[in-house]
């Protein structure tokens, strides 16, 4: 066991792949000497130099577009947007190009690109630097969407994402960047997409979550355990492909579910999963499908307001309790 931060997990995955394959390159705003706005690329520029770790102008359309075009020509680009909020600026290239090219062209062309995007609130970034926009990406056929919750997963999922022949939106949680986790050095290897992790086994209710909310969910689970409620916590790890099997198995056992994410609740991806459960597993359920998310507001600046708007342990706890 050794300690590793989430940011290091991401960086080391990039390093591993870049050492392995000269066609893996990284670019984005200030990812070079500066080491990335959140320090994620760190020293990669020193190791791989200007040609393979490139600072770009502020042109998100060109960043995503260059990823698409280079991927179409046999490169494995990793493009970083500084905040997921800036996806709005490069959305066409992701949605109408990257996601659809393979299909539109009858399978002729693959787009093995990774788009890394830091998401979520909690750093006082206010409305334009704090969004959780994974639901947009999951709604686009052709995209894969990954959202790790810890260093080991970040490492293993990014290895896989870089090798994946399809475009992967790799969402990173800003607050987790600095969080240290224990990693098993013998397990530093690729993790397949579409395999959720049962973080905590339980028999009474299933919490389905991912990213930062895995930690809040575990805390909530601990709290209610004192009252004899035995919670199972599932970390989805990849939002698409979605590990339906693990979800089904858990709900067949617990018959209750709470879905938790940091997204504003209206239109959240958790809604889609809930809808899937309500359609396909209805007869397994013995209580409402509870959902916890952020309030339906932009993220406010003031720390107190932000904390109020964002979901927390107490919200999860209350949602779980409401089922008993």
């Amino acid at each position: 066991m050794k300690k590793m931060t989430y940011a290091e997990g991401i960086r080391e995955a990039m390093r591993t792949k870049m050492k392995e394959d000269p066609n893996v390159i990284l670019f984005g705003e200030d990812v070079g000497k500066f080491g990335g706005c959140f320090g994620v690329s760190g020293d990669l520029w020193e190791q791989f130099c200007d040609d393979r770790v490139r600072d770009t102008p502020i042109s998100e359309g060109a960043i995503v577009g260059a990823a698409v075009g280079s991927a179409a020509c046999g490169i494995k680009p990793i493009a970083e947007l500084m905040f997921i909020d800036f996806l709005t600026v490069g959305m066409d290239q992701l949605v109408n190009q990257a996601a659809k090219m393979k299909y539109m062209f009858g399978g002729e062309i693959s787009i093995p690109m990774v788009l890394r995007v830091p998401a979520g609130g909690g750093i006082g970034g206010a409305a334009q630097h704090s969004q959780s926009l994974e639901a947009w990406a999951t709604h686009v056929p052709g995209l894969k969407v990954v959202y790790p919750s810890n260093a080991q997963d970040a490492y293993g999922l990014l290895l896989t994402s870089i090798d994946d022949p399809d475009p992967v939106v790799f969402i990173e949680n800003k607050v987790l960047y600095a969080m240290q986790n224990d990693v098993d050095e013998n397990e530093m290897k690729a993790i397949p997409l579409g395999k959720a992790r049962v973080v905590k086994e339980g028999s009474d209710v299933t919490i389905i979550t991912y990213g930062r909310q895995v930690y809040d969910s575990l805390q909530a689970a601990e709290i209610v355990a004192k009252d004899g409620i035995n919670v199972e916590v599932i970390d989805l790890r990849s939002l698409f492909p979605l590990d339906k099997e693990t979800i089904v198995k858990s709900i067949e056992k617990t018959h209750k579910a709470v879905l938790v994410s940091e997204e504003c609740k209206r239109g959240a991806y958790t809604g889609d999963i809930a809808a899937m459960i309500a359609e396909e597993l209805f007869y397994e359920l013995d209580g409402p499908l509870m959902r916890v998310g952020a309030l339906n507001t932009p993220i406010p600046f003031s720390t107190e307001l932000e904390n109020y708007v964002m979901p927390n342990v107490r919200d999860i706890e209350l949602a779980v309790r409401s089922l008993f």
Binding site: N23, D51, A62, G69, A72, Q97, K102, M104, G106
Partner: protein, 328 residues
């Protein structure tokens, strides 16, 4: 740059293929055989032809909604193209793409594109791939005058220039974005002036002059291959048809089309052949007949190709995932 007779004949053949393919597509659309949108290249043949004549098979192009000409000029095959226009299984995209989404990876054709301005940055990416692999390939990016007002144009040219990427930006200035004339969509006359914003060479040429296009793009391609960076080339031309088939072209001033019909790029080359005794009238006629046959064959190929199987609708969304289809 010297053009050999063989090259010139090859280019002439290409122009004929484009013209005749497009004329047929026009008729087939009118007959209801082709669904969706069709944007024809008639009148602009010299641009794609002269430009692509400078490319190798392993070079790349990006194209637009008005892509048939570029694709033919880069070596796209008429049979597969026509079958795609019909939405048939043997089409380039197995019927999933249609006129606006034809690609051929084996020929470096990175796709027609239904999003105005999207090709620019894909071309930049292609240049980035070439630079990363350290080959001497190049990419030509084709686009229309009106697309140069899209933010992507600006971002692409800026990035290509900062990184000195091997991309040649070929603007087809046909005077319109759908119904909006150039003077109403930008306050400049020569789009090539925009090169200066990126410290990139920019020139304007007669896009209906095959020789001029061949030469200007040839120089730019040579520069790009040598790692000397991108170039912006504006080719003034005109589309004879409406923006898409079905467009009544109410926005055209009287006489404009007629004036441009006189600048038809094809007879200009024929005249050159005759004057320089490179081809006889008969040889020209024979070549025309051959191309007519090719296009007829393509139509037959398309007609005979099966309708795609319904399950195929579920394929190629991902490389490794196929979801379930309809129960119905």
């Amino acid at each position: 740059m010297k053009i050999t007779n063989e090259q010139l004949k090859e280019m002439y053949l290409t122009m004929l293929k484009i013209r005749k393919f497009e004329t047929s597509a026009m008729d087939l659309f009118a007959d209801g055989k082709i669904p969706g949108f069709v944007h024809l290249y008639i009148g602009e043949e010299a641009v794609a032809t002269g430009a692509c004549a400078n490319l190798r098979e392993d070079d790349y192009i990006t194209s637009t909604h008005r892509g048939h000409g570029h694709i033919i000029a880069k070596g796209g095959e008429l049979n597969y193209m026509m079958a795609e226009l019909f939405g048939k299984e043997d089409g380039y995209c197995n019927g999933k793409g249609g006129s606006m989404h034809i690609a051929d990876a084996t020929k470096g054709i990175l796709g027609a594109n239904g999003i105005v301005g999207a090709g620019h940055n894909i071309a930049v990416g292609s240049g980035l791939a070439i630079q990363t692999k350290k080959t001497d390939q190049v990419c030509i990016c084709f686009f229309g005058d009106a697309s140069t007002n899209q933010g992507t144009f600006h971002e692409a040219l800026n990035l290509a220039s900062v990184w000195k990427l091997p991309v040649v930006f070929v603007c087809e200035n046909n005077g319109y974005g759908i119904s909006v004339s150039q003077e109403r969509h930008q306050a400049i006359t020569d789009i090539s002036v925009r090169g200066a914003s990126y410290n990139m060479p920019g020139i304007t040429i007669d896009g209906n002059d095959l020789f001029a296009v061949y030469e200007a793009v040839g120089e730019a391609v040579a520069r790009a291959r040598k790692g000397q960076g991108p170039t912006l080339i504006e080719c003034k031309t005109y589309r004879w048809r409406g923006h898409f088939e079905g467009d009544p072209t109410v926005y055209r001033p009287e006489g404009e089309l007629e004036a441009w019909l006189k600048k038809d790029p094809i007879p200009r080359v024929e005249k050159y052949f005759i004057e320089n005794e490179l081809m006889t009238e008969e040889e020209i006629k024979e070549m025309n007949d051959n191309v007519d046959k090719m296009v007829e064959e393509a139509i037959e190929f398309a007609e005979n190709s099966p309708i795609p199987s319904l399950e195929s609708a579920l394929k190629d969304v991902y490389s490794d995932i196929v979801e379930e289809g309809r129960v119905r």
